[in-house]
């Protein structure tokens, strides 16, 4: 496991260095462009090439400073900003026991030093993401839709996937890369704006052919840099999604759970409009594009610009797995891949991986703690009675209503609703700001003092 984290860290470093290079080149172009349009009087008289060189240096410094400022913001407040951007609020304590337990169980399975903080987003679309600079300060956000749609095993698989992102330091990489892309986009926007203004005000000085070439190259860089940065970013994020899937299976030992969860999430017809473009890369399934979410394009460019691999393929891989370890995931990955039989993980990843069995959580419990036979009969008669199809459907629907209610509870608790019980046994909740003296019980119609 340490091995894998180390390799991930190294890859992140290489990528971030490349992005920094792009940023610095962009900075130089930016500096030259500015001095081209707004030449200082003194510099005007000086040698043109000399001036350009100086302004390129200045531009690099400006780019570096902007980057440092943004980085500082991200380091001090990055997590909260991302959470606020997605309108996530902290899960009130004791408001959803299952979620709290699942997160704690999975962080134990992954060996995190402490369970991440849990945040909730109010939207019917099932989805989840993780963020945080290091495992100690990480956070997981889930939507209420996720809590309603998925059963416990599926929820566990999704949480395991998010915790894998934290363990693999993808969340850290995401923040650094986000800052880098932000700076690049900012500078290139600024440069292009200057350029437009420059043309309008016609302050451009007449230069030779050399000047024009510089101008064109600068313009080219301005437009190209953001695209290049994003391509660099995407080159790694798809791979990381697969890896997180593989880790999630390793934690839960149950690939079917994640497969059905992914199917439910991507099959959901709800949209999450509030998820913005920058953060959408962090979700377990892309929250915005319904088309992209499920249908795989398999075209050259269709996939190169997507942060997530096609969900269809992810599900197929999970269903083809014959074990719960990395080797099994790798084999399934090669089997499902249409183009190129390049395995997901290199050999260095798979060094000394032991084969793990798939365990259905329901069967696993039976196997680990077998009920003594005398007591077993009663338990078997009570719990494992054979259900007909209709009864099964009824039971599922009932469970969903129950889950909806407990998800609703979070929202009410977060808004400080007060709980009151009527003498007839009905529990109801009302907002804190309620000004009346009494409330009428919806069941027995008697008035209750508040």
């Amino acid at each position: 496991m340490w091995h894998q984290i180390a390799i991930n860290k190294r890859n992140s470093c290489i990528l971030l260095t490349l992005m920094l290079l792009v940023l610095l080149v962009l900075g130089a172009a930016f500096g030259m462009l500015i001095s081209y349009y707004f030449p200082i009087e003194m510099a005007r008289s000086a040698d043109f090439q000399q001036m350009m060189l100086h302004s390129a240096q200045d531009g690099i410094i400006v780019a570096f400073v902007v980057w440092c400022i943004l980085l500082l913001c991200a380091l001090t407040n990055g997590k909260n900003a991302i959470l606020a951007l997605n309108q996530a609020y902290k899960l009130p304590e004791y408001s959803h026991l299952v979620l709290e337990n699942v997160v704690e169980e999975m962080s134990i399975a992954a060996g995190l030093p402490k369970p991440p903080e849990i945040y909730v987003i109010d939207t019917a679309m099932p989805n989840a993401f993780a963020t945080g600079l290091n495992p100690k300060k990480a956070a997981i956000a889930v939507t209420t839709g996720l809590l309603v749609e998925l059963d416990r095993d599926e929820l566990q698989a999704v949480v395991a996937h998010e915790i894998a992102h934290i363990v693999n330091r993808d969340t850290m990489y995401m923040i650094f890369a986000g800052v880098m892309i932000g700076t690049i986009v900012f500078l290139s926007e600024l440069g292009l704006r200057f350029m437009r203004n420059g043309f309008r005000s016609k302050r451009c000085r007449g230069g030779g052919k050399g000047d024009l070439i510089i101008l064109v190259v600068c313009l080219f860089l301005m437009i190209l840099a953001p695209i290049l940065a994003q391509l660099l970013y995407f080159s790694i994020s798809q791979r990381r999604e697969y890896l997180a899937d593989a880790c999630a299976v390793q934690y839960t030992r149950y690939p079917q759970g994640l497969a059905t969860a992914l199917a439910k999430i991507s099959g959901s017809l709800y949209m999450f409009r509030d998820a913005d473009k920058i953060t959408s890369a962090m979700y377990i399934v892309h929250p915005l594009d319904y088309e992209k979410r499920y249908k795989s394009t398999y075209s050259m460019f269709g996939n190169a610009f997507s942060t997530h691999p096609p969900t269809e393929k992810r599900i197929k891989i999970l269903e083809k797995m014959t074990g719960a370890d990395f080797n099994a995931y790798n084999e399934a990955f090669v089997k499902v891949s249409k183009f190129g039989k390049r395995p997901l993980l290199k050999k260095e990843f798979l060094y000394g991986v032991k084969p793990m069995e798939i365990q259905n959580p329901k069967e696993k419990k039976e196997k680990e703690n077998p009920v003594p036979s005398a007591m077993g009969i009663a338990a078997a008669a009570a719990g494992v009675a054979v259900l007909s199809e209709a009864e099964k459907a009824h039971k599922l629907a009932k469970e969903k209503v129950e889950r909806k209610r407990s998800a609703q509870n979070i929202v009410l608790k977060a808004n400080n609703y007060i709980e009151k019980e009527c003498s007839c046994g009905t529990k109801f909740k009302f907002p804190e700001e309620y000004e009346g003296q009494t409330i009428r019980c919806p069941h027995c119609k008697q008035n209750i003092l508040v």
Binding site: M1, W2, G352, E368
Partner: protein, 187 residues
């Protein structure tokens, strides 16, 4: 650099490289060893939590089903044995026995509607079930860590460093099939 200078520096360079390699391997082993240690303490935390929950559970059940003595006593006894064991292998067996005893207690509780409706009991049941899940995951992580550690320790050339600095072999936390059936010894 002349030939003679090279001859004097070469051994120093080689020694320095070897030293750095030893330090890196040693540190790698220490990281893994600490991971195993942490994983074990995580299991310990969860086991302790379960020990703490059991007396409450027993008291609650007693209030409704006092005459189910055998199930209650089995739980108390299994808890007592498990607490007193220190080594990894025997502990795994004892903890399995405790899980079995708890399971049969919950099975017995199914026959008492009043008990099943008791809020305190329901909360305890949820807590114990969740703790049991956590134990199972902590065990899973511990065993994975032990495997990684033992693998690394036994592989060449790391095994040389491991022997020199006396890194111990760690046991898995799981009861093998034969051990699970050990209590029913026949003579």
């Amino acid at each position: 650099m002349t030939q003679s200078q090279l001859m004097t520096f070469l051994p120093i360079i080689i020694l320095a490289v070897i030293f750095i390699w030893v330090v890196m391997v040693y540190n790698g082993l220490v990281v893994l060893k600490n991971q195993v240690k942490n994983a074990w303490s995580q299991i310990d935390v969860q086991l302790k939590r379960r020990y703490d929950l059991i007396p409450n559970l027993v008291e609650t059940v007693k209030g409704y089903a006092a005459h189910e003595k055998s199930a209650l006593e089995a739980v108390i006894k299994a808890r007592q044995t498990a607490i007193n064991i220190d080594n990894v292998k025997d502990k795994a067996v004892a903890e399995n026995a405790l899980s079995g005893a708890l399971k049969s207690l919950f099975a017995v509780a199914e026959n008492y509607p009043d008990l099943k409706a008791n809020e305190n009991f329901l909360q305890l049941q949820e807590e114990i079930t969740s703790t049991e899940n956590k134990i199972s995951y902590a065990r899973q992580f511990y065993n994975d860590s032990v495997l990684e550690y033992n693998n690394k320790k036994e592989m060449f050339p790391t095994n040389m460093i491991a022997t020199i600095f006396n890194f111990e072999h760690r046991d898995f936390f799981e009861a093998s099939v034969t051990e699970k059936e050990a209590p029913q010894v026949k003579f």
